[in-house]
Structures are given as structure tokens and as C-alpha cells.
């Protein structure tokens, strides 16, 4: 993926004969553009920080918020440390179960990111695969796939995710363990976001398919799917990467909304959305920290990813250079 990205990212007038990939990347417009864009650097830094914090959560957070035995009800509803009523070690306060908000945010970030990324991977594979198939085989198969895509576009992702989630829970019983729940949300998100990839890949395939070299390759009996994958995928990595970035943000929001509506992750294993849902009950009552910090973390993460996605889209769009 990353290697291909280098290729796609390389602007046409970047020097071709440079020795290593790294050097090529460093010499590319993309890198130059990045170095010049303070916003991109900032967004990248924030994203990196969030990822770092999220995956270091088990080692750096004062508490494991998923372990009920570590929660002490007597520590509940504590305000952040700088408030006179705050108590060490609860830097950002605690929720109504005595859960350390800082730890919960870190673990929540981790969950949100895992769910978001897995969701993106699922939808990416699904979308790219279906897009390749639709574009390559055309005909009835194409019609069916794109019609399904049309139908799916009728409903916003959140509705689809709600439906998928609800159906699965009803079918498998609601006593799903948390891993199954995560998987379920990932699948819901994956099923909600594949259309964009499919459309992008499909149109690219349609263009490529009519090109002479593909026709020629077919004539000499080369396996054409291989050609498609080899020639089409590199061409669409740019757009697909942009879609993936922006979809990561959307997936995180979708997970948060699902959790907020109560069909996502349970309160015993809170993601950012679950934390906001819990905290929302206390927002008006002055216990703002329960909702504020997860809210800020969520908005910050999504904003950073969005900024990055935006920048990437502009940077990879030759028309804008």
C-alpha cells in the first residue's frame, strides 16, 4: 500500500531517476507540499499523537476503565484535578461509576480508532473488490452491483448501520460479548461505506478497460483480471487513499453515533461515543467533564483526520497544483 502510494503520489515532474524510494518520496511534490503546509503538519501531528496515545493506553493510563474491579464507586463524579474538589490521580475527573475520565478517553480513543480503521478496511476491500468486478465484467453484474449501490445510497450510513446492528443483535441474541459487538459495528460500518470505493474503482476500470494495452493484453491471452489489478489499482490508490482517510473520520463518527444511540459499544467498555452518551446525561447538571473530554477528543481526532484527508485530496489532485 505504502509503496504504491509513493508511486501515485509522485508528481509527474518529479525526477524519475532518483535512487531510493525514500529519496524519491522526499523529493516528491507531496512531501514538499506537506512540508510547506502548516495545517497538514499540525493535523498529522495531532493524528499521530492520538494514535500514539490510543495504542499506548494500556501502559500510560492510570486505570483500566474496562476492568470493573478497578472502579471504586466512592470516587465517582469527581471533577478534574484543577477543580478544588478534584482528587489525585484523576486528572480529568471521574464519571458516575468512579471511572477515570482520562483513562476512559485513552481507551475510548483506542476503541474508536480500531473500530474506525477496521471498518475502513472492510469497506475498502468490499468496495474495491465490487468496483473491480462491476467495472471489469460490466453487463448484468455491473448493473446489479451499481443498483445495489444506488439503493444503499438511499439511506444514510447511520441508518444502515443501525439496521445491520439491530438485525444481527436480534438474530444472535443480545448477549453478544464485547468482541462480537466490535466486530458487528465494524461490519455495519463496512457495509455502509463501500459504495464510494466501488464507484471510484469502477469508473477507473471502465476507463482503463477500453485502453489499447488492455485490449492488446487480452489478445495475447494475458489474464485480464491480473492486468486490471496491476494497472488499475495503482491509478486509483490516490483517490482511494483520500476516500479512506475521509471515511475513517466518518466511520469514527458513525461508531460514536451508534454508541450514542445506545446500539454501539456498552457502557462497561466505553468508546468515545459511549462516553459522550453517558456524559451527555450530566452535561446540563454541571458535570461537564464527563462529556467534554471525550467530546473534545472525538472532535479533535475527526478534525485532524479530516484536515489530513482534505490536504491529501488537494495535494494529490493534479488540477490543483
Amino acid at each position: 500500500m505504502s509503496a504504491r502510494m509513493d508511486d501515485a503520489a509522485e508528481a509527474p515532474d518529479a525526477p524519475r531517476a532518483t535512487p531510493s524510494r525514500l529519496a524519491r518520496f522526499l523529493g516528491s511534490d507531496l512531501w514538499l507540499n506537506f512540508r510547506r503546509s502548516k495545517l497538514a503538519i499540525g493535523a498529522f501531528a495531532v493524528t499521530l499523537l492520538m494514535f500514539g496515545l490510543a495504542f499506548a493506553a494500556p501502559w500510560i493510563s492510570p486505570q483500566n476503565p474496562y476492568d470493573p474491579a478497578q472502579l471504586e464507586l466512592l470516587n465517582s463524579n469527581l471533577p478534574p484535578l484543577w477543580n478544588p474538589d478534584g482528587q489525585s490521580p484523576f486528572l480529568l475527573g471521574t464519571d458516575d461509576q468512579g471511572r477515570d475520565v482520562l483513562s476512559a478517553v485513552l481507551y475510548g480513543l483506542r476503541l474508536s480508532l480500531i473500530v474506525g480503521m477496521l471498518g475502513v478496511v472492510v469497506s475498502g476491500f468490499l468496495g474495491i473488490g465490487l468496483g473491480l468486478v462491476a467495472g471489469y465484467f460490466g453487463g448484468a453484474l455491473d448493473t446489479v452491483i451499481m443498483r445495489v449501490a444506488d439503493v444503499q445510497l438511499t439511506f444514510p450510513a447511520i441508518l444502515i448501520a443501525l439496521v445491520v446492528d439491530g438485525v444481527a443483535k436480534a438474530s444472535f441474541g443480545s448477549a453478544l460479548d464485547t468482541n462480537a459487538t466490535i466486530l458487528l459495528i465494524v461490519v455495519s460500518i463496512g457495509l455502509s461505506f463501500w459504495v464510494q470505493y466501488a464507484r471510484t474503482v469502477r469508473s477507473s476500470v471502465m476507463v482503463e478497460r477500453s485502453k489499447d494495452y488492455v485490449q492488446a493484453a487480452r489478445l495475447i491471452g494475458l489474464s485480464s483480471p491480473v492486468i486490471m489489478v496491476r494497472h488499475v489499482l495503482p491509478n486509483v490508490t490516490g483517490p482511494v487513499f483520500v476516500i479512506a482517510t475521509i471515511n475513517l473520520a466518518l466511520a469514527i463518527i458513525t461508531e460514536a453515533t451508534l454508541s450514542f444511540l445506545g446500539t454501539g459499544l456498552p457502557e462497561t467498555m466505553p468508546s468515545l461515543g459511549t462516553l459522550i452518551r453517558t456524559g451527555n446525561r450530566f452535561l446540563f447538571s454541571g458535570e461537564w467533564w464527563v462529556v467534554a473530554f471525550p467530546g473534545i477528543a472525538l472532535a479533535g481526532l475527526v478534525l485532524a483526520i479530516n484536515l489530513l484527508g482534505d490536504w491529501l485530496r488537494d495535494a494529490l489532485n493534479p488540477k490543483l497544483q
Partner: protein, 326 residues
């Protein structure tokens, strides 16, 4: 020579980019007289189109005119405020773009676009403007203009559309028309018609034309004088007969290797080994020296200034040296 319509002196156009300032046009000087067609030739990227854009004031940021001056008649126009420049565009300088397919707004009828142009620059009523639009369409050879005036651009063929574009450029009777590759996107058979039309209109209205093209055939066919551009500089400029028949600059010689009739010249241009340098890597001295068959030491260090040789001006040390010797 007749009265000078356009006079460009030592024009420099620069682009600010992430990698520093690129000079796209460097010291270009040329003049066009009333009723005269000046051909501007060169490879892609030689600065032909940028020169045209500079004249009409359509250099977009990050580009800018970095030096020299442009005069229309006696008025200096390169430093005019935008609003004044706008009034000159269309009114006194018309422009024709390369691709007639994309030059017209697809959402408006051609008549609407012509009337719009006319009324922007004159006080004509809508009705009169429409009558004038029909006249213009007639003049550029659109059949049944009363009916076609209400057609949308996509309903016209390429050649017909280029005629509409020419009509639009002529709408306010400008003194100068900049035709930027007006025939490149057209079928060969249509190219000749359009060139003929351009020549006729130029003659009838006394309009000066800057005909930007990379097609030597078009130049030979239409132009009175010709300027050969290379890497943002004029290599040779002079009467078409002289430059075409007896090119002096080695690059021009390469270009004129054979005057094609009306065929694709792109291939012949490749007869010159190598390719034109990028703007980021213009060599010192004469920009052409890495490809020049006649290169010698001075070419690599000193940039040649244009020298009047016969009826043409040539920027080449070969002639300087000969001049010294003589």
C-alpha cells in the same frame, strides 16, 4: 511599416512557485502593425501562449508580468488597473482559444453569448445587439444564422464553433486579435477554412493578429511576419518569407527543416535532438545550446542578444561573431 497596433518591449513574465521564481518569458520584444498577422511559433512550453496571455492581461497568479512594457497603440496597458484592463479585453483586444469545444459556455445559447459580449462593450439595445450578432455569424460564415443564433454550443460542429468563437472575438471590433492555436483542435480540412476566414477578416477590418501556433504550415499560410520562440525567448523574428525560406537561427532552421503543407508537424520537430529544457532548468548562456548543432564556447556562458540580420532579428552568437568578423 504601417501604424503599430501592439508593441511589446523586453517583456518578462515570472511565476512564483514552491520551488522559487520561474521565468516563463524573458525579454521578449515584438511589434504588430495594423492589418498584420504575426505568427508566433515554438514548441509547447516555449512561452507562446504566455506571451499572448500577457498581452491581453490574463496572466493568472502566481504568474505576473515582472518587467518590460506592453503598449496598445500608444497606451501602455501592462500596468493598468484590472477594471481598465477588462474594458480593453474584448473591446480592443480579442482572443481566440485553442479549443472551440471548451471555449463556449455550454449553458448559454451562442446568441446570448455574443449579445452579452456586444452589450458589455457598447450601448446597443438588446435588439440591435442581436441583429449585430446575426451579422457577425453571417460574416464568419455560419449558415442560417437567424436560426443558429438560438442554438447551444454543443449543437455546433467543431469548425462551426470556432467560427462562433471568432465572431465573439470580433464582436466589439477589436484592433488586435490574439489567436492562440486556433486550428490545433480542428480537423485538417476545417483548419484551412478557419485560417482563410481569419485572414479575410483581418484584411477587411484591418485587425492586427497575433497568431500563436506550433504549426509551421499555418504560419506559412497565414502570417506576414513570424517570431520563433524558444524557452521564453525570441530566437528569430522577421518576415515570414525570409524566416521560412532562409531561417538563420539554428533552432529555426531545425523547425523549418521542411515546410509541410497542411500536415502534422509535431513529428518533424522531433528532428531536433533532445527536448526543450524545463523552466526550472534553463541552461546558462543560450538556452538552445545543449541541442544546437553549431554550439561553441561562448554559447554556454553568454546569452545572445537579438541582432538585426537582413530583414530579421536573430538571437544567436553565430551572427554576432560573423558581424564582428565582417
Amino acid at each position: 511599416m504601417t501604424e503599430t497596433v501592439l508593441s511589446v518591449r523586453d517583456l518578462r513574465v515570472a511565476f512564483e512557485t514552491r520551488r522559487g521564481t520561474l521565468t516563463a518569458i524573458d525579454g521578449v520584444s515584438l511589434e504588430i502593425g495594423r492589418g498584420e498577422i504575426l505568427g508566433v511559433v515554438g514548441e509547447s512550453g516555449a512561452g507562446k501562449s504566455v506571451t499572448g496571455s500577457a498581452v491581453i492581461g490574463l496572466i493568472d497568479p502566481p504568474g505576473r508580468i515582472a518587467g518590460g512594457e506592453i503598449r496598445l497603440g500608444s497606451e501602455r496597458i501592462d500596468d493598468l488597473p484590472p477594471e481598465k484592463m477588462r474594458r480593453i479585453r474584448g473591446r480592443r483586444i480579442g482572443m481566440i482559444f485553442q479549443d472551440p469545444l471548451t471555449s463556449l459556455d455550454p449553458l448559454y445559447r451562442v446568441g446570448e453569448q455574443i449579445v452579452e459580449t456586444i452589450r458589455t462593450h457598447t450601448d446597443l439595445s438588446a435588439k440591435t445587439a442581436r441583429a449585430r450578432a446575426i451579422d457577425l455569424l453571417t460574416e464568419v460564415g455560419i449558415p442560417a444564422p437567424e436560426r443558429r443564433i438560438d442554438g447551444y454550443p454543443h449543437e455546433f460542429s467543431g469548425g462551426m464553433r470556432q467560427r462562433v468563437v471568432i465572431a465573439l472575438a470580433l464582436a466589439a471590433e477589436p484592433e488586435l486579435i490574439i489567436a492562440d492555436e486556433p486550428t490545433t483542435a480542428l480537423d485538417v480540412s476545417v483548419q484551412a477554412q478557419v485560417i482563410t476566414l481569419l485572414k479575410r477578416l483581418c484584411r477587411e477590418h484591418g485587425t492586427a493578429v497575433m497568431l500563436v501556433t506550433h504549426d509551421m504550415g499555418v504560419i506559412a499560410e497565414a502570417a506576414d511576419r513570424v517570431a520563433v520562440m524558444y524557452s521564453g525567448r525570441i530566437a528569430e523574428i522577421g518576415p515570414v518569407a525570409e524566416v521560412v525560406r532562409a531561417p538563420r537561427h539554428p533552432y529555426a532552421r531545425g523547425l523549418m527543416g521542411a515546410i509541410p503543407t497542411l500536415s502534422d508537424t509535431a513529428e518533424r520537430l522531433t528532428q531536433i535532438p533532445g527536448s526543450m529544457p524545463r523552466l526550472t532548468a534553463i541552461p546558462p548562456g543560450c538556452a538552445f545550446h545543449p541541442r544546437c548543432p553549431n554550439v561553441f564556447g561562448r554559447c554556454r556562458v553568454e546569452r545572445p542578444e537579438p541582432i538585426l540580420v537582413g530583414g530579421t532579428r536573430v538571437a544567436c552568437h553565430l551572427y554576432d561573431a560573423r558581424g564582428e568578423a565582417a
